[in-house]
Symmetry: C2
Subunit: 213 residues, 2 copies
């Protein structure tokens, strides 16, 4: 009646997924073997086949789970902010570069899966950091900003600003991947906002990152 059985089952299932993510983060994909996974999850060898039908499916599921965690993190932040375009943008940029989201483990996992994306459709589907939903949020925020500036082609400007901003954030992640210890979050933020301020002087004038010079 307690459903204890199903509860244990689901806990084990999740243990396997988290074991994969831990292993991928620490050892990389190529060293994430079945033996490695079941050892970390402290479960028996047959569990992978039982729960996922095979190792590949488990890894795909781990990629999906990891991606979901990322988006949940971002969306949670957005609910705690104001409604103006610049507030949204600022929160997304700040969140994307925050310790909670941009940290060694997440970055290791993210890039490990990216490396496999080209050869595994299931992984490619979950390795786009900037999915349609997030893109739309950013676009709508920029569209509001662009319209307020009275520019000639606000949608086109907003589209380009979205694309460029998300690309720049991607690049910052890569910086962090390659130089995690010398990476400076404030600097990254300041740079993104310097570009945004250049495009929308009235909206990002005193906002955003530390404006040190």
């Amino acid at each position: 009646m307690t459903g204890r059985r199903q509860e244990i089952r689901e806990r084990n299932r999740l243990s396997l997924i988290e074991a994969v993510l831990d292993s991928v983060a620490e050892k990389g994909i190529s060293e994430t073997s079945v033996s490695e996974i079941i050892q970390r999850a402290n479960l028996s060898r047959g569990m992978i086949h039982l729960h996922f039908g095979g190792k590949d499916n488990l890894v795909d599921e781990a990629a999906r789970y990891s991606s979901e965690q990322y988006y949940n993190g971002i969306y949670d932040l957005l609910e705690a902010t104001g409604q103006t375009g610049q507030e949204h943008i600022e929160m997304i940029v700040r969140g994307d570069l925050s310790e909670t989201i941009l940290n060694k483990k997440n970055v290791s996992i993210w890039y490990a899966f990216r490396g496999e994306a080209r050869n595994r459709a299931a992984i490619a589907a979950f390795s786009d950091t900037r999915d349609a939903k997030l893109r739309n949020l950013v676009f709508n925020a920029f569209a509001r900003i662009a319209k307020e500036t009275g520019t000639e082609h606000p949608n086109q400007v907003a589209r380009d600003a979205t694309h460029g901003t998300l690309a720049m954030l991607e690049g910052m992640w890569t910086d962090y991947l390659l130089h995690p210890d010398s990476f400076d979050r404030d600097e990254a933020m300041r740079i993104v906002f310097r570009f945004l301020r250049a495009m929308f002087p009235k909206h990002f004038d005193l906002n955003g990152a530390v404006l040190s010079e």
Copy 2:
């Protein structure tokens, strides 16, 4: 006397490296086995041990070689351009997004190695797309531009512009990785230059990408 012996030896060595890169591009790192490599190179099993002492060393060397190819491509372009800051920047951006450098094979290889970078120091050393040399080139170009604008802190502005521009290019590469068929080079270029125009209106006004709206 002809050195025919050494010539064959070096050709075989190179065949192994190129076989690794082909395999990594087509099948990914995890499926790039010794058997796969020697089959592509049409050489015998022992050659890897003979030339490189083991598979790992060969893969590291392939990463180094691939990185070298990238930089040579960029530097070649720079020699064929003018000397103003904006000409340099434009050539680097244009080159970085050109078919010669940004194509499916290169991107597959690059991201495959990136995925391993965190766990293999030898690969990490060669997976920084924007090494000190290239960074300096970009920085010097922006420094000249910034000084001409008479801004207050030209070096700081140039540093940020360098960081932001290279980050944005990284992001464009990721776009290409994940959506190679819908990726639009002109659009990517236009966006980069839209940001640069916002920061340096006088220098990128009529330059760079197609200015369609």
